[in-house]
């Protein structure tokens, strides 16, 4: 086999052109214990974090450990992700670590902490391709939202019932196939009939902006990484029309 002279350019490696050097923050707290908690979140160490958090809880109150250790660490992870230094697995592992740490704090408090807002997510009826939903759940969980995960291949009526029961600030739906995404307008129509005007973010392989803009409540989620920003907007009280106008079109 003959090989092309590398100087003869048939493609350009843009990933090498703008390689981002990781600029981690190293100081999260002046307290050594809380510093360790935050570092374990940033490093995504879900194996050791429970021990580290439990040790911190012997001298700190749980709210302090959550605020200045776990959330401080996760804020740094969000920064590294948004500037392009962290990849998805690092965010997911950090989220796992943070949630394990919060569970230890909740045990100490004897009650669950208040999450930022409830979001129902599902993969469309007839569709079993749910990795997109898994990623969205991980990112929303990392941002402190409470996820009601209905799973894959969820009946339209089941989604509507979950919205009646939980009254979420936002509903998420993913679909890979064109022949399953038709569940989304049916859900939206039923929600409207019940006067549940919940922003309904739809995304996934075959789902496109034209389709989602074709029904009320629908907002197109191009990328899983948009989910947190849209949830923040829903939490602020923006309507589905306002969120759609901001993110779509």
């Amino acid at each position: 086999m003959r090989y092309l002279n590398p100087k003869y350019q048939v493609f350009n490696r843009y990933d090498l052109f703008h390689e981002q050097e990781e600029q981690k923050t190293h100081r999260f707290s002046h307290d050594a214990m809380l510093q360790r908690v935050a570092e374990h979140v940033v490093d995504g160490d879900d194996m050791k974090i429970t021990d580290v958090v439990c040790e911190a809880l012997t001298v700190k109150n749980p709210q302090e450990v959550i605020r200045e250790g776990l959330i401080a660490g996760m804020d740094e992870v969000s920064r590294l992700w948004s500037e392009g230094s962290y990849f998805l697995p690092q965010v997911v592992l950090s989220s796992d670590a943070m949630l394990a740490g919060i569970a230890a704090c909740e045990e100490k408090m004897g009650r669950p902490i208040k999450r930022r807002g409830k979001i129902v997510t599902h993969t469309a009826e007839g569709d079993i391709h749910d990795i997109g939903q898994t990623i969205v759940n991980a990112l929303l969980g990392a941002a402190g939202f409470e996820i009601i995960n209905l799973g894959a291949d969820v009946l339209v009526d089941h989604v509507v019932q979950a919205c009646r029961e939980h009254r979420p600030i936002m509903l998420g739906g993913t679909a890979l196939m064109t022949t399953t995404m038709s569940a989304f307008p049916r859900i939206a129509a039923k929600l409207k009939r019940l006067n549940l005007r919940i922003p309904f973010v739809c995304g996934g392989g075959a789902v496109n902006e034209n389709f989602v803009s074709g029904f009320d409540l629908g907002i197109w989620g191009k990328d899983a990484s948009w989910a947190v920003g849209m949830a923040e907007d829903a939490l602020k009280g923006m309507t589905w029309r306002q969120i759609r106008a901001k993110w779509n079109g």
Partner: protein
């Protein structure tokens, strides 16, 4: 089951597009891998067409009718039609059967009217989602097997994209966990296929239909899509390359159970499969950009026998409907390869395909025929267990990526690969020790049930 210990091709240089060591002739008389590349068109129905059998039949009739019409219009001598089941066609096997009857009738009409040679492949939807049902004992499992029986009566070929091990794989891939990827694909995925495929082969043989093949689509293609392009930050591209290497041992199980090929289009591991088995393979690349992007648009054609577009949704374009347009694109791609074969320029064309993409990305690099053959060799030399051969393939893949200085890696990709290689190195040699380790580690993953895999 005895695992494959030998390579069908003595060396990579013997592999060429259009010809395979074990060509397949379908019941409708189309020869695949016998000296020419054949286009394989796949049409996906539009949203809403699944509402009733009537609308779905009409959608497929329109799509494949347009495709065959364009094949005739531009003079393609032969074509293959692949129909990928939407879930409704597998859940209601009669729907799948009626689409098959209609497709065969359509092909016959064009054959009688114009003499165009064609064959059809039906890919049954694997609706057994591992975290939702028992893989071997559920209503969904019955539907899958019934759908095979209903379609094999009419189709030339049947195939599936099996989902065994996906519950663990999906958990692992977003956590940089190569051990979980190995467990999901090599231990669970292979055991699921070892249970499923003898049944598919038996059903197909009863009806004179070809049990064609399976794919790592649910696993390695998930990794490939997540890895994305140069700007994507979902998972490292080196991890996607390892997922591809690991998938070889899983896809191979179908052939070890009696599948004959042609390999399924979305199995990007097919160059390795061809090297090991000698069966004809279907591949997709530049002309499947309608379905998804990849780094291997040209190189993946280097040893293909069928050339596919993966899936195109039915729509109008300036040049006609999408099935017509993509039939023409595939037809010209195949015509160029067949012209090269006819004029004795095939080696030069293959070199161009390989050089176009070789150093674009680690994923395209490992699919070059020389590297694909070496990974295949690692699989056959480590036939002690499903696990041993998959781990060996992953280690060989990493070794190949590291050893060629012309393949540039970002610091992140290089560090990530070094981390995966160290993790793979530390794993136990013996499969039963590995299974014990994983059953403990992944016992609490949502929906994982060991009994689905006979463990």
């Amino acid at each position: 089951m005895k695992l494959t210990q030998t390579m069908a091709y003595a060396e990579a240089a013997d592999m060429m597009f259009g010809s395979s060591l074990h060509p397949v002739t379908t019941k409708s008389g189309l020869c695949i891998g016998g000296g020419q590349v054949v286009p394989e068109i796949v049409v996906h129905p539009r949203a809403g067409s699944e509402a009733s059998l009537k609308t779905l039949l009409r959608e497929f009739e329109r799509g494949y009718g347009d495709a065959l019409e364009r094949c005739v219009s531009v003079g393609l001598p032969r074509t293959c039609l692949e129909i990928e089941h939407v879930a409704q066609m597998t859940r209601q096997p009669d729907w799948g059967a009626q689409v098959a009857v209609q497709t065969v009738s359509l092909m016959e009409r064009f054959r009688n009217q114009f003499g165009i040679q064609s064959a059809c492949r039906f890919t049954i939807a694997d609706i057994r989602k591992p975290d939702m049902v028992h893989m071997r004992d559920s209503e969904r499992t019955e539907h899958v097997l019934d759908a095979f029986d209903a379609c094999a009566r009419h189709a030339d070929m049947v195939a599936i994209e099996s989902l065994g091990g996906k519950e663990i794989f999906d958990h692992a891939i977003i956590r940089n966990d190569v051990t979980g990827m190995l467990f999901g694909q090599a231990v669970l995925g292979c055991r699921d296929m070892q249970w499923l495929w003898p049944q598919i082969v038996s059903i197909a043989r009863q009806h004179g239909c070809r049990p064609s093949g399976d794919t790592g689509c649910a696993h390695a293609n998930t990794a490939m899509f997540m890895a994305g392009g140069y700007q994507s930050r979902e998972i490292p591209h080196t991890l996607a390359a390892l997922a591809r290497a690991i998938s070889v041992g899983k896809t191979l199980v179908a052939y070890e159970c009696g599948a004959t090929g042609p390999g399924k289009n979305c199995a990007y591991e097919n160059p390795m499969i061809k090297a090991i088995t000698g069966v004809p393979i279907s591949c997709e690349g530049k002309s499947s950009a309608c379905a998804h992007s990849s780094f291997c648009g040209n190189v993946i054609a280097a040893v293909c026998d069928l050339w596919s577009n993966e899936a195109v949704e039915y729509h109008a374009m300036f040049g006609g409907t999408t099935p017509a347009v993509f039939s023409e694109l595939l037809g010209y791609d195949a015509a160029l390869m067949n012209t090269a074969l006819g004029m004795g320029y095939e080696r030069q064309l293959q070199e161009c395909m390989v050089n176009s993409d070789r150093y674009r990305d680690p994923q395209s690099y490992i699919l070059c025929p020389d590297n694909a053959w070496k990974i295949g060799k690692a699989v056959t030399e480590n036939s002690q267990s499903f696990y041993a051969r998959a781990r060996a393939a992953a280690l060989k893949c990493g070794e190949l990526i590291f050893e060629d200085s012309r393949l540039q890696l970002t610091v992140y990709e290089r560090d990530a690969l070094a981390h995966y290689m160290a993790e793979l190195d530390k794993l136990p040699e013996d499969e039963s020790d590995f299974i014990d380790l994983c059953l403990t580690r992944y016992a609490k993953i949502k929906g994982f049930r060991r009994e689905s895999y006979g463990l």
